[in-house]
């Protein structure tokens, strides 16, 4: 079973040299820590920055320089700043190669719910609806089951949707899945170290597809 950092580490392997990447809040943010040094990756922050760097050293924080989570950050050489409309322009026009975000539920057809729980106070979708509607390459980073022990990989989402037929890859603490958005199904492609196909099957409520030999993740 992977911890949050393990999930981030596995996702980092999906990032290729030259990619522009948008990282959501939560586990996705941790992915930045595992990008290999030998590749060149540009992080996009949807409030208007390409080339996001690490947090500043104490005393070097700048109120005018934050990420989409409102955290103080730095800019790397080659950075570019732009307005919010241009930021979502590059997202909508698929200039950003990879989007990594969290989810509350994903359906076997690649629908995603991650912004609203009826009866609870809604804080808003931020940029999530724009990202899932437009990005060509989205990876969901999430726990396989919720706090009540119920699978988050479902035949259909029960929560209000953020987007439809848009999630094609999911990485959880147990496995890596590819989602068949046309026919419906979670195709198990990798198991976390020490996790059996049966364990993953038992934690997947939607249609589960696995070949005989499912390899273990290489981290």
């Amino acid at each position: 079973m992977l911890d949050k950092n393990g999930i981030a580490k596995r996702i980092a392997k999906e990032i290729k040299d030259g990619y522009y990447v948008n990282l959501g809040i939560g586990i996705p943010t941790l992915v930045a820590n595992y990008i290999p040094d030998n590749i060149n990756v540009v992080l996009q922050s949807e409030n208007g920055l390409l080339g996001m760097g690490p947090f500043p050293f104490e005393g070097e924080e700048d109120a005018d320089l934050i990420n989409a989570g409102k955290q103080t950050i730095t800019m790397l050489p080659g950075s570019a700043v732009f307005d919010s409309a241009m930021s979502f322009g590059m997202i909508r026009a698929q200039k950003v190669d990879l989007t990594i975000l969290g989810a509350m539920e994903v359906s076997e057809y690649g629908d995603i719910a991650n912004w609203k729980i009826p009866g609870k106070l809604v804080k808003g979708m931020g940029g999530a609806m724009d990202l899932v509607a437009s990005a060509k390459n989205i990876i969901v980073a999430m726990q396989q089951v919720n706090k009540a022990g119920e699978s988050k990989l479902l035949p259909q989402c029960t929560l209000p949707l953020t987007g439809v037929k848009c999630i094609r890859k999911i990485v959880t603490e147990m496995a890596v899945f590819e989602v068949d958005v046309e026919n419906g199904g979670f195709h198990l492609v990798e198991r976390a170290p020490g996790i059996s196909v049966e364990q993953v099957r038992n934690a997947t409520a939607g249609r589960f597809i696995a070949n005989n030999d499912v390899p273990e993740m290489q981290l």
Partner: protein, 232 residues
Amino acid sequence: MINKVVNHAEEAIEGMTDGMTLMLGGFGLCGIPENCISEIVKKGITGLTCISNNAGVDDFGIGLMLHKRQVKKMIASYVGENAEFERQLLSGELEVELIPQGTLATRCLAAGYGMPAIFTPAGVGTELAEGKEVRDFGGKDYLMEMAFEADFAIVKAWKGDTAGNLIYRKTARNFNPVMAMAGKITIAEVEELVEVGELDPDQIHTPGVFVHRIFQGNSYEKRIEQRTVRSV
């Protein structure tokens, strides 16, 4: 040239009355028009519809207007941690319309570019699409979203000149340039106001044609919402 320079926020918001629609630039507390917000609070203008990405925090930004119950309706993409906001929302005192961040920015952009509406894939197949026109372009569905109309757009820039030309600093740019283009009356408050000729025309982000009133603000607090640092 008509004089756009006003002395302070009080003069800048002249003509702003109860029930108007305002656009307010900023992302979180970054790049918000602090001086104008203070003045609106001081004047006690009420029944306002505010278009802004966020709603400030309890004791800063638009949160100050919420505390004095000046906001009737908030149009935002994310309202964050704001106890007074939650209380007013749950009691029904405050109307809230949550929209995707890209839709918010592009509805401002459309207004500024003189276009009545946009088509965006954001929200297709979700509850946001209810009651909206959906159109298929090349096999993909898009929602029609209308350009915003705002009586005032209030933006914050780093530098400006007396002709209203503006330059923003780092990510404090965010929604400010698109909102600056979108107001019936646009107010710009700047950290440093200079004479014409002092800014390099090649570096201008917002041309002065969009700005009706400009002033040099004072006592900028520039509060940080999430101070994060790395260990040495």
